[in-house]
């Protein structure tokens, strides 16, 4: 990476780290402790921004998938792969924080409440997305199938939401937020969103470098001609 860009990246992450630290301090000192649940409730301020950002990352996968199928340029695939990784990571955090919350609020690590079930299914959807790539060798095939799944998975999300809402919800949770809480929540969105975007960008750049290396390999080594989709050599 050329020096100016590296400087920019460093500055970005330093800013994110500082904001994260600031919001954590804010959480510990400024934000009031919620009456019914106690200190554990504070995990909510991480949970909700991460949840929203999971959707944003999934949306990036969706858009990149469409982009690939439309233009057939490999960088769309690299972007989709990067966003997919971040989606899975963030979704795992949503799931875990949700479970911690649930344990504290209802005494059980797992309940089949709509929200937890939704997080679980979303997590599974995108874990599968990440599993596709290692299963297919041919780059164009891999990109095409991943793209189709990436589109299907995103379209599935509202359907999953509607379906889990039909499940019995024994533990509805709605918490009235005091103004300080709302402010904390808004503040937390900043470092979380920056992290999400930064992770996608970093992973994307890495994918591009990996692919450039693979392409160089393909061009310079004596290998038999690529098998086309009918499994025969040219």
């Amino acid at each position: 990476m050329p020096p100016p860009r590296r400087l920019l990246a460093h500055a970005y992450w330093i800013l994110t780290a500082v904001l994260s630290a600031a919001t954590i301090v804010m959480l510990l000192t400024y934000t009031p402790v919620e009456a019914t649940m106690g200190p554990v409730q504070k995990i909510f301020y991480l949970h909700l921004p991460v949840a929203i950002n999971t959707f944003v990352a999934a949306l990036v996968v969706f858009i990149a998938s469409i982009g690939y199928l439309w233009q057939r340029k490999m960088w769309w695939d690299d972007l989709a792969a990067a966003a997919g990784k971040v989606t899975v990571l963030f979704c795992a955090i949503v799931l875990l924080t949700g479970m911690v919350w649930g344990r504290s609020a209802w005494g059980a690590w797992w309940t089949w409440s709509p929200r937890l079930t939704f997080s679980l299914i979303l997590f599974l959807l995108y874990v599968v997305y990440m599993m596709i790539r290692p299963s297919i060798e041919a780059p164009q095939r891999r990109a095409a199938i991943s793209a189709v799944y990436g589109i299907a998975a995103f379209l599935d999300v509202p359907l999953v939401y509607l379906s889990v809402k039909m499940m019995p919800d024994i533990h509805p949770s709605s918490i009235a937020l005091a103004p300080e809480m709302k402010l904390t929540l808004a503040a937390w969105f900043v470092p979380v969103t920056l992290t999400m975007a930064g992770l996608i960008a970093t992973r994307f750049r890495l994918n591009r470098r990996l692919r450039a290396f693979e392409q160089h390999q393909a061009m310079t080594t004596e290998t038999p001609a690529a098998a086309n989709y009918m499994g025969e050599t040219a």
Binding site: A138, V148, L159, V160, L162, M167, Y229
Partner: protein
Amino acid sequence: MMAAFRQIVLMTGKDLRIEARGRQTISLVVVLGVLIIVVLGMGLGAGRPVTGFGATAILWVAYLFGGVLCFEKTMAVERNDDALAGLLLAPVDRGAIYAAKLLTNVILMFALAVVVTPVAILLFRFDLSAHPLGFALIMALGMIGFAAVGTLFAAAVSSTRLQGGLLAMLVFPLSLPVVIVSTQMMRRLFQEGEPLGGTGLATLLAFDVIFLVLSWIVFELVLEP
């Protein structure tokens, strides 16, 4: 339009004729389905009657696994001897090829359901008498949506070398809404006596429409590199 419809019927007819010759796919799928029901029945149901809700979930497990096997096999027919190339060479809309495969899969899934459901009812003493048509409608809509997704991805992965398990992995999570909605609707219908609700049916229909349209559009793109 009519021409495309005729071609779809022609291609589905061809698939069903091949199936009728060997009866390979349908027998494998049905036996697998029944085995699953029996295994689950021994584990869950032995002795006490399982609720309608539970029976639906068990049926879905049988349909899911049987279905994936079915989709793999109907697509495999085209992979032998480059038969698919023969179809692609012809003046046939790629969407029509998808529709024909989907129709074949739906018919085979219905055949599976016709055999496996009575077995489940028998083993689990599930009482459908209250709303047999409601049950049939919910399951039919669900199976169509499941087949829509399954047909698309079966075509996508059938040309890759690593098949086994990949198709199931792709299709199961995407199909979860169908499983959840249909089991929940059954619960409301049979246990709580609520009439067939709007949301559930709407969700099932939305699932079917969304994935049918997506598959129709995208099918061509998964058939070529």
